[in-house]
Every structure is written in C-alpha cells, then in structure tokens.
Symmetry: C2
Subunit: 111 residues, 2 copies
C-alpha cells in the first residue's frame, strides 16, 4: 500500500469477480491462508513490528483482497485500525524501492 | 460480541499468552483458518450479510482473537470498519439467545 505511515501489504488473489474468501474453492482458500502466513512472516523479518494486523473487509473495493500490516506502538493510527485512519502519505520512489528490496530479501530467506 | 448493531463473532483459540496467528504452530494455524471459514459460513447462513469482514488486530487486547463480522450495507459503521466505530449497543437477553440459537442451528447444518 502506497502509504509510508505503515508497512502494509495487500494480497490480491488473481481470481476475477471473487469478493469473499468464503467463495474461494477450499484448496484456493487454504493457499490464500498460507500466503497470508508468509506475508506476515516477511513483514516481521523485514520491518519493525510490534503487532501484525490482518484484515479482509472489501466494503468499498469488492475485488477480494487481504491486508497484512505491520503496526508499531504509537504509529499514525495506533491503537485503532489502519482502515479509515486519515490520508495516506505517499512513499518517495527511493523509499518505496528500499522497502520492496527488504521485503524481497526476507521472502528469499523464508523459502 | 455483545453489540446488537452487528452480527459479530470473536474466535478465541484456547492458547495461553499467544498474540499473533503467526506464532501458532503450523497445524494450529491451519485449524484456526478452518474455524474462520466455518464461522464465515455460519454467519452467512444465519443472518443477513452483504459482506463478511475478517480481522485480527489485537492492538489493545493482546490475547489472540479473530473477528468475523456480517456486515450490511448501511449498518452503523458502513462502509468503515467495525473496530473503533462508536459505542456498542447491548443485546437484550432475548435477542442474544435468539441469535445464538440461529447460529447453533446453522452450525449443525454445516456439519
């Protein structure tokens, strides 16, 4: 998520017109949960994280997506949820690339 | 959750001092995701539901818990998240029991 206030991943299964996790076939649902677990582990390895926050809401954007967010005590929305917590602060190109590099490296370590 | 504004389940794995889903052993994590899937199915069967919302936050209450909420368009927090969305409205004893009965019945159907 292009919001420098939080290290925030959004997983978007490549399944057209699916809105609910509950509507995925069971094997795809199991795979999505594995991917959520992996995204959680990647964040904890790559960035400071006092608490993971997971969410699947989709009240506004209906295409199925799952949020995995590394929260820090005292961050811009703490202790509330990140959803609906004010305006995003865009990353600079440099900061975004640096974060993506750290995440990719963590993903390699976890393989 | 004792908040009559939403049909809202909270799953609390019986695992002492665990805060993150990511800290559960893999088989227990897989079981929790199955239970989330089942709670989702129960809600959809038992109550009106335009969108399911799942969340694992725990920023305030650290004991591991997962929220599974049946949302309706136009409900008290729509389209925002239920977390931090104002004061709960307690169920009457009668309404709470009626909802519990519907949920138990749906759970039996799904077995």
């Amino acid at each position: 998520m292009d919001d420098a206030r939080f290290a925030w991943l959004v997983l978007v299964p490549q399944r057209k017109d699916v809105t609910e996790i509950a509507d995925l076939p069971a094997p795809e649902r199991a795979l999505l949960w594995q991917e959520v677990d992996r995204a959680s582990a990647v964040l904890r390895l790559a960035v400071p994280c006092d608490k993971l926050n997971l969410g699947a809401l989709g009240n506004i954007v209906r295409q199925l997506h799952v949020h995995v967010v590394a929260r820090r005590e005292g961050d811009a929305a703490w202790p509330g949820p990140v959803w609906g917590s004010g305006a995003a602060e865009r990353y600079t190109d440099e900061a975004r690339e640096a974060l993506a590099d750290r995440l990719r490296e963590a993903l390699r370590w976890l393989r």
